[in-house]
């Protein structure tokens, strides 16, 4: 290993990057299952890199391993943000394989495998929380926002003084109610979007640059 590489690997240089390299943030897309996290991740990548993150499905727990892409640069004409983006498995407090059978017509074997992998995905998503500098918390604006999963994610980020943006997704749907989400979480910015159609995503990008580009004192939990 050359001297330069050795320096790059050293704790000292990591410390320097931590202090000065803060415009490079690791951003997690979080939320309950099926709210549109991967759809949003794909939208962000399509808009800024031409890549895709992963597969999307109407069946919950489609994403069962975290996926990420590094060095995504987004800008809004004035300022920019370079980030590593992580698409996480939906976090749930219960997983019933019978739901996959009864509601989505999957076979018993497939349902059990999916459920088992889903439990592992939830654990992975929670572990990633320790490693992240900011979160886009995706919620389904057609549903009741007060789920424990949202409360737990927000609580963990707040305890470490890390920024949260709430994406009130599926705003294109007829019964979407972004106002409910706004009144439910007054302490964080709520941005109504449609990850599916791209509606209002420029606004989300601007907020990401603003909120995730800031220097903060990160606290380990």
């Amino acid at each position: 290993m050359g001297l330069l590489e050795r320096f790059r690997e050293s704790r000292f240089s990591k410390m320097i990057f931590k202090i000065f390299g803060k415009n490079h943030a690791k951003i997690g897309i979080y939320g309950p299952p099926n709210v549109g996290k991967t759809t949003l991740a794909n939208r962000i990548l399509r808009d800024w890199t031409g890549d895709i993150m992963g597969s999307v499905s109407e069946v919950p727990h489609e994403t069962r391993r975290a996926k990420w892409k590094n060095n995504i640069r987004i800008d809004n004409g004035g300022s920019s943000l370079t980030m590593d983006l992580v698409d996480t498995p939906g976090i749930a407090t219960k997983i019933d394989f019978k739901e996959f059978m009864n509601m989505y017509g999957m076979t018993k074997d497939d349902s059990r495998v999916r459920a088992k992998e889903a439990t592992e995905g939830v654990i992975e998503a929670i572990r990633w929380l320790d490693d992240i500098d900011g979160v886009v918390l995706v919620m389904d604006a057609t549903q009741d926002p007060f789920t424990q999963v949202n409360v737990t994610i927000i609580g963990n980020l707040e305890a470490r003084n890390l920024p949260i943006l709430i994406a009130a997704n599926k705003i294109d749907a007829e019964n979407a109610s972004p106002a409910t989400l706004k009144s439910a979480f007054p302490q964080h910015p709520v941005i109504p979007i449609s990850a599916l159609t791209g509606y209002n995503t420029e606004n989300l990008y601007s907020m990401m640059i603003k909120e995730f580009g800031k220097k903060r004192h990160k606290q380990r939990r």
């Binding site: 407090t93 219960k94 997983i95 939830v122 929380l129 009741d144 789920t147 609580g155 963990n156 305890a159």
Partner: protein
């Protein structure tokens, strides 16, 4: 799982009962009770870290024929003022209800009230 003839048990747990437990002991106690089919109402809920750990432990315990996970509803930490924070007053997590997901369902929650139902036909008779 709950026995057919024993009805459904609700335990209201004062903060004194849990305050001497470590986080790990607390979570173990809660998860054991819930796996036994009991519904718990905690006077003081769990910190965000404990909530995340409880979800993690729950995922490890899921056994698709006997335990499908938990239903949990609680409130965020009490907001504390600037001076309290300066003087190191800890945030107190507020009331929380936790039960087995095959029995307990969250109906609605707002800033002042948590509404739950017992899933009919599942041990209620």
């Amino acid at each position: 799982m709950v026995k057919k003839d024993s009805g459904i048990t609700f335990n209201l747990i004062s903060h004194q009962k849990l305050e001497h437990y470590s986080s790990a002991e607390k979570l173990k106690y809660i998860l054991n009770e819930v796996k036994e089919g009991r519904i718990l109402v905690l006077e003081h809920g769990l910190t965000p870290t404990e909530q995340a750990q409880l979800i993690e432990h729950t995922m490890k315990e899921i056994n698709h024929d006997t335990f499908i996970g938990i239903e949990i509803g609680g409130y965020e930490n009490e907001k504390i003022g600037f001076f309290q924070r300066v003087f190191g007053v800890a945030k107190k997590p507020r009331m929380t209800v936790i039960g087995p997901a095959h029995l307990l369902r969250m109906v609605h929650k707002d800033n002042d009230m948590i509404e739950t139902t017992i899933i009919p036909g599942k041990g209620a008779n």
